[in-house]
């Protein structure tokens, strides 16, 4: 069996999730199933609408942490490939923030791996987020949901 490939990237510039996914799909013809998660900056109207979002990272820890998560994910499920792309910097509504894709022979492995990676990216990765609304910039505190999600694994 060929070694499992994984591709983990921390990007300061925008990316095209569908181009990235097309490349990933093409690289894994042996996989019966590919699950992907795309997280994007929500477009919504109203006074509470987010006009911009900034994610800050810490060079010494954020990407190494993502790589450790990828290794843990691959160790836990039988995968053919794993892709994790995460943005940092200032983003606007509609911009992609995170793309995770897992390719596997069996559907259940692909779903669980993508779900696991997302729960850990959301709650344990070294990102700090602030949002800009009509009221100005505001730092976002961790959500209780994120910790509940993590307790599932």
């Amino acid at each position: 069996m060929a070694p499992i490939t994984s591709d983990v990237r921390l990007l300061g510039e925008g990316f095209s999730p569908t181009d990235q996914l097309a490349t990933f799909n093409a690289a894994h013809p042996e996989a019966g199933g590919i699950v992907s998660f795309l997280g994007q900056v929500r477009s919504e109207g109203g006074a509470q609408a987010v006009e911009a979002l900034e994610l800050r990272h810490y060079a010494a820890m954020t990407l190494p942490g993502m790589e450790a998560l990828a290794a843990a994910t691959k160790a836990r499920w039988v995968l053919d490939g794993l892709l994790i792309i995460h943005r940092y910097g200032v983003m606007h509504p509609g911009d992609p923030i995170v793309l995770v894709a897992a390719a596997a022979r069996h559907r259940r492995d692909a779903f669980a791996a993508a779900d696991f990676a997302m729960d850990h990216l959301k709650s344990q990765s070294w990102f700090w987020k602030r949002e800009k609304t009509a009221a100005g910039w505001r730092w976002i505190e961790p959500r209780a949901d994120d910790h509940r999600d993590l307790a599932r694994w």
Binding site: L55, W128, R130, W139
Partner: protein, 79 residues
């Protein structure tokens, strides 16, 4: 040669800078030289520290050597 403090998330806004060069030495001495309002935030119970990229447990006596990088990490807020 100095050591560096790195402030993440909202701590960067409070510090007014992403990094600060400081004289090496025991952490309590380094913090005593800072603006007290900033030092209080850095010592908040939800703020963790990492020395040269490795997370600290919280009970270590930290002494900064020349070239060390000590990061202050508030709770992460998710991607």
């Amino acid at each position: 040669m100095t050591a560096r403090l790195v402030f993440l998330g909202r701590l960067e806004d409070i510090a007014g800078a992403a990094e600060l060069a400081v004289a090496p030495g025991p952490l309590e001495k380094v913090l005593a030289a800072l603006d007290p309002a900033l030092a209080v935030e850095l010592l908040g119970e939800r703020v963790r520290m990492a020395l040269n990229g490795a997370l600290l447990g919280g009970n270590e006596a930290v002494v900064l050597a020349p070239g060390d990088e000590l990061a202050f990490l508030p709770p992460v807020s998710g991607g």
